[in-house]
């Protein structure tokens, strides 16, 4: 099953490589991993998407907790949570019909066209991974020039929070 794990760790050089090293050494999957400093500059926050059986996920969380620099960790998937990912995408827009079609699809998915040339649109889209996948599907492979996805970031719903 797919799990979204949120990690608060010391903002030290090398902390990221400890996490990625752990995953490669133990043969765990990483679907995506994003990291950035928090409002407290000594800490950084990481969101990691992985998949595996319950026992593999249990090991992953235990092994992550064992890293000296990990302060706190939450498997967001255990409760209700929100996930978002942002994508920047360049699509073909060289004929009137495709220009209209691209604009229409972008509106349906609540994307924004943020750069325009006479042959290309660049669209920004935010949503959960499913929405982004659906948008890509709707655009059709032949119209897509380049895709950049940030990877998933997530946060628990309601009052729960991962705060130090």
């Amino acid at each position: 099953m797919r799990h979204v794990i949120s990690i608060v760790m010391e903002n030290e050089p090398g902390a990221l490589s400890r996490v990625s090293g752990l995953f490669s050494a133990r043969g765990y999957n990483i679907e995506s991993l994003i990291v950035a400093p928090t409002e407290d500059h000594t800490l950084s926050r990481m969101t990691l998407v992985t998949s595996g059986s319950d026992s593999v996920i249990e090991q992953i969380t235990k092994q992550l907790n064992k890293l000296i620099e990990v302060v706190k960790l939450q498997d967001l998937t255990e409760n209700r949570f929100i996930e978002r990912e942002m994508m920047l995408i360049k699509v073909k827009a060289h004929e009137n019909t495709t220009r209209e079609e691209m604009m229409r699809l972008s509106e349906i998915f609540r994307g924004r066209i943020i750069d325009v040339t006479d042959t290309v649109y660049t669209i920004e889209l935010t949503g959960n991974s499913n929405k982004i996948d659906s948008f890509l599907e709707a655009l059709g492979e032949k119209n897509i020039i380049e895709v950049v996805r940030t990877g998933v970031s997530g946060i628990a719903r309601g009052n729960r929070s991962l705060k130090i």
């Binding site: 235990k62 000296i68 302060v71």
Partner: protein, 577 residues
Amino acid sequence: MELTGAEITIRCLRDEGVEYIFGYPGGAALHIYDALHRQQEVMHILVRHEQGATHAADGYARSTGKPGVVLVTSGPGVTNTVTGIATAYMDSIPMVVITGQVPSNVIGQDAFQEVDTVGVTRPCVKHNFLVKDITKLAETIKKAFHIATTGKPGPVVVDIPKDITAQKTEYIYPDSVNIRSYQPTRRGHPKQIKKAVQALLTAQRPVIYTGGGIILGDAHEELTELVRLLGYPCTNTLMGLGGYPATDPLFIGMLGMHGTYESNMAMHDCDVLLAVGARFDDRVTGELAKFCPYAKIIHVDVDPSSISKNVPASIPVVGEAKLILKEMIESVKASELKPDDAAIKNWWQTIDKWRALDSFGYDQSDEVIKPQYVVEKLYELTQGDAFVTSDVGQHQMFAAQFYKFDYPRRWINSGGLGTMGFGLPAAMGVQLAHPDATVATITGEGSIVMCIQELSTCLQYDLPINVINLNNRYLGMVRQWQEFFYERRYSHSYMDALPDFVKLAESFGHVGLRIDKPGDVEDALKQAIADTGRLYFMDFVTDQTENVYPMIAAGKGHHEMHLKPDKVDAHDQRELA
């Protein structure tokens, strides 16, 4: 007063109570070596290869419980320590490794003797640091000792660029450190302990299985008390030997691949398994699908990630073995439930039948020296009181099978990584820590040459180690596998062109003896042990094709041990209670 980074490094070690550091100098560490020269409190032992330094520090740590300390230079100095660091990591040995690094301003420029120490060692350390700011140096060293010695212990590397060792700052060594992201659990959860005791007291066929965690956590007294209080059988892993007295009748021997028949059969048939400070290693469990099919498993460990990693535990208890066992003892004493005497008596009768098989039994010979016999004699002559280190191979298994360890920290071997070359340097650390003790290293002609250069260190520091070379002219353990599983195709397991070990020992300034008759074994050992002033290298010419029995082969369960061919398997005749 302001001190240089180099002076601070040494002062930190002094203030941490470090007696010995094991090391080898080089460019990036020269400021530190200079600071070492100008003081008397911390003794430096100059090894002959950095791998030797790590194993010696490791042997020191295993035999004392104190962290071992290593000092090496950058680049090749560091890469030479990797085997020793990984060895310590796999067996959770507290160690602090201080490494010189090229100056900060050239890091990343492929400078002379530069290697990414933090990167190279990351997968085999508990933690590592690169010191970038001299004002953080003392605190970082304090943290390194704290991390290395608490929770599940392990090696920690502190990499110090050369310019940092030259800069100056005020020296303050903190008394303690608090790391917000590192707070190991010490006490077990009371509810879990209660559940565990309940399960133990209602058991019909219990087994207590313990590992290196008992030794590392100084919990042998508590373990002994609990086992005796319950009257249950206790088995130890290779790493756990000495955690429970081997001569006690409740001890059913080592378990696992080359363990006793009775311990493995008891594991298979047990209905409640209490595992303490053990990690269900594959050499212990055999085929997981066949592991303890009837047992409710209680697992006590300080490392949560060890629990349910290989085998799911029904009652996990996270915390320090010593504290948890103490509480279990209290709880057993206070409980109204008592062990089911009739069931336990029955269980012991079954175990004793298995025991009667004498699964370690070997055929003594008048002509050729049996390796088991040498270990037996060593045990008799030292009355079980020696420190015994070993290398890796058949000799290691014979040592574990035939030397009965009644005390913890006496049996010192590389269990997790299985590092050939470990035995001799480890024995140096042990002998330095215990100058008056008898220290023996049981080795093979394959393993000993992997760190043979340390014979020179032994001469320099007068370390009267008894080197027991069980010389079968084969990489014996490899040969055994080839005999059993590769139709006797002995691919590269014969040790051709061996040195004359007597001359070799003599050229290093030691006493060399070659023993090839069973009748001479005892005298040679006696002579070596009695001479407490010199290192004896005893080259025992042993039976070339002796095998280690019994054995659990790949894919087999505890109840499917491969016995010495003339042993009759009692398995078929047994009745499951």
